[in-house]
């Protein structure tokens, strides 16, 4: 292909929003995604053995699809989860869609830890709104934990599980509210409403869940954006003037190609983006591109999760209905009397399918072998639910993504290696949250607590902070509108640029930030100051 104006690498949540927003500039915009389009008729929900399928596992080391790259998690307390293909992580995400709080952007000012973001809630508010509309968000206005917002669709049903949990919250006088979710509760955006399959985490065959392959991408393509699949970018190339000239990539046949571009935009997520930058070494940047601060790959944040699960005597929803129903932000903001800074949100996990119920029941010795098996199972079936605490993780330079010395993907590109230890502050939050989870279920009238997992070792769903945003070029990788400090035509728009993690799922903020950066670029195109 001839020279293009904008080359986006990665076809996930942030890329899709960004591409759509930039489409009205009429520039020549190309996106390269290492995976393919996902055929929704192949999702596990379309087969009886949906609980047996590994092809939609969130662990790339288990999935091992051609589009995946391996990740060395050996030195990490939490394993990375992702999906590689058009839609990125949104193919598998649970679509819990909360915004950050205003306080999340100023943790240094408010709590004296980490750093403030160079932007604030008000900056993102209009982009959150556009994104809610484009993705299709269900929820309820009036949440006292947030500034006013109006989700375009009514909330998910509370169901039996939500009702039981809400009773517990009310007994303790704790905040709860229907979760904002990117799931259709009515026909919206040309997609039908949710039919409660409960399989958001392995792909929504109904198309009610807003994965970006069925929200932003079709709109962006209609407006002329080119999305090239099965193109794996190996390296960003650099000209003598220190500007990016394009990318070297492997095409579908595994042939190495070069695509030149006026502007390169990275949207490979908090692991893929630093991996690509670290793989792009040159005389000018021997430690990886745009890495004069030495911070590329550092400050990796997940949200450590603790899960508390309980058994009820009454019947609950089981696995029917989306996983997330209601959430609580009672413990979100800092209260120093708790012995830690920052906090967490509780999200509801509605219940399990039959196989998982049996498996957990057996592992917990509640479902015996032999004669007692059926009675044991009957007590659990559709009677378990959980809460998960999404704990704020503060940035630490020792938590990082580097390149593995020997592991490579199928094109021979060095894989990512994760070094990550849960910090003392996060451990305190996790322990506190586990106790509150127990209290909550007792108040809700649960018969017993069946499981506490603290931390959840496979919960590396949110990959943040590895190319952080900031005004100080020595303490950040990109400026306050996503342009790298070192290379004036190289941008980052994914979760890598988070300065802090907040205590909620990040995708709503990742996309709002991508839209905000697209807007900033458009403004600077207008006055020709984009590369100043």
């Amino acid at each position: 292909m001839d020279d293009v104006d904008v080359l986006i690498v990665g076809g996930g949540a942030s890329a899709a929003a960004f591409a759509w927003s930039l489409a009205d500039t009429r520039m020549k915009i190309v996106c390269m995604e290492q995976g393919d389009w996902i055929d929704h008729t192949q999702y596990p929900a379309t087969s009886s053995n949906w609980e047996m399928r590994n092809d939609f596992s969130s662990d790339p080391n288990i999935r091992r699809a051609p589009a995946d790259y391996p990740i060395n998690n050996e030195q990490s307390d939490i394993a990375v989860a992702n999906f590689n293909g058009v839609g990125g992580g949104t193919i598998l995400y649970a679509a819990h869609f909360p915004r950050l709080h205003p306080s999340d952007f100023k943790v240094k000012t408010l709590d004296g830890v980490a750093d403030d973001w160079p932007i604030d809630y008000e900056t993102l508010a209009p982009f959150y709104e556009v994104n809610d509309r484009m993705m299709g968000v269900a929820g309820l206005a009036g949440d006292p934990a947030y500034p006013p917002k109006q989700p375009p669709m009514p909330p998910l049903p509370l169901g039996r599980s939500g009702t039981a949990l809400a009773r517990g919250y009310n007994a303790l006088n704790w905040h709860w509210w229907p979760a904002d979710v990117a799931i259709n509760t009515e026909a919206y955006g040309g997609r039908d409403k949710c039919i409660n399959m409960g399989l958001c985490g392995i792909g929504c065959a109904q198309g009610a869940k807003a994965s970006v392959d069925i929200t932003y991408w079709p709109e962006a393509q209609r407006q002329g954006i080119h999305l090239l699949t099965n193109c794996r970018v190996r390296e960003i190339t650099l000209g003598r003037n220190g500007m990016a000239t394009g990318v070297t990539y492997f095409d579908k046949e595994g042939k190495e190609q070069h695509q030149s571009a006026q502007m390169v935009v990275l949207a490979c997520n908090g692991i893929g983006t630093p991996r690509l930058l670290l793989n792009s070494k040159s005389n000018l940047f021997p430690d990886g591109l745009a890495n004069s601060s030495g911070l590329v790959g550092k400050n990796l944040m997940f949200h450590p999760y603790t899960v508390v699960e309980a058994l009820f005597e009454e019947q609950l929803d089981g696995s029917r209905g989306p996983h997330k129903g209601i959430q609580s932000h009672e413990f979100y903001e800092t209260d120093e009397s708790r012995g830690f800074v920052r906090g967490f949100s509780f999200e509801m996990h509605r219940g399990h399918g039959p196989v998982t119920t049996a498996m957990l029941g057996m592992l917990g010795n509640r479902v015996p072998w032999g004669e007692g098996h059926h009675a044991g199972y009957r007590k659990l079936a559709d009677r378990m639910m959980a809460v998960a605490a999404v704990c704020e993780d503060l940035p630490e330079e020792t938590n990082r993504v580097t390149l593995d010395e020997s592991l490579t993907d199928s094109n021979g590109i060095p894989a990512a290696k994760i070094e990550y230890r849960i910090s003392e502050n996060s451990k305190k939050i996790l322990a506190f949250a586990a106790e509150r989870g127990r209290e909550l279920f007792e108040a809700a009238g649960a018969a017993e607590i069946t499981r506490v997992e603290n931390p959840l070792p496979y919960a590396g769903w949110h990959n943040l902070g590895t190319a952080r945003m900031g005004n100080d070029r020595q303490a950040s990788v990109v400026n306050e509108w996503g342009r790298t400090h070192d290379v004036k035509n190289l941008f980052i728009i994914d979760g890598s640029l988070f300065v802090t993690s907040g205590g909620v799922n990040p995708t709503s903020t990742i996309q709002a930030t991508a839209l905000y950066i697209a807007d900033a670029i458009k403004q600077r195109l207008g006055d020709a100051s984009l590369f100043d």
Binding site: P144, Y146, W176, W177, M197, Q206, R320
Partner: protein, 152 residues
């Protein structure tokens, strides 16, 4: 094809263990895990997993003197042998049981008869889906009265 992984003796042992782990129950008309349909589903696992199971089975019964010895045990002896392993479950138990139980549960709890017995519609979740009741929204009134509490 895949049952070829196992000898007739191994298949018969696997079935005997399956029905000891999950026996039939008259209540709800539940089949045992060695039921033809369910067991066939176990055999549909990828060949490499079946080969792994086979070698774990071999290791397990070697400790007792081999397949012929175990096959010859009467019901009580066999049940006691299984019960001894259950005492070591889940952490210390021989890996055979970890692998086999996971396979059995996946096959058993997708069987239409089992799902119907537990009031669950069998078959793929799509396109019919399920019903979730609206629930008691009056519970939210208590929270609606709360003043905004986010920090600026």
């Amino acid at each position: 094809m895949k049952e070829k992984v196992f000898s007739a003796e191994e298949l018969s042992l696997l079935k005997r263990i399956a029905s000891a782990l999950i026996p039939a129950s008259e209540e709800g008309g539940l089949p045992a895990a060695d039921d033809e349909v369910i067991f066939q589903c176990v055999l549909e696992n990828p060949a490499e997993q079946l080969i792994q199971l086979q070698s774990l089975l071999f290791e397990l019964i070697k400790q007792e003197g081999g397949a012929a010895v175990v096959t010859a045990w009467d019901r009580t002896h066999f049940d006691n042998w299984i019960a001894d392993y259950e005492k070591q479950w889940p952490k210390q138990v021989h890996s055979f049981f970890k692998v086999y139980i996971a396979m059995l549960l996946r096959a058993y709890y997708q069987d239409a008869r089992v799902l119907i017995a537990y009031d669950r519609r069998p078959g793929p979740p799509f396109p019919e889906g399920y019903v979730v009741i609206e629930g008691d929204w009056s519970l939210l009134d208590a929270v609606k009265n709360r003043k905004p509490f986010y920090r600026r």
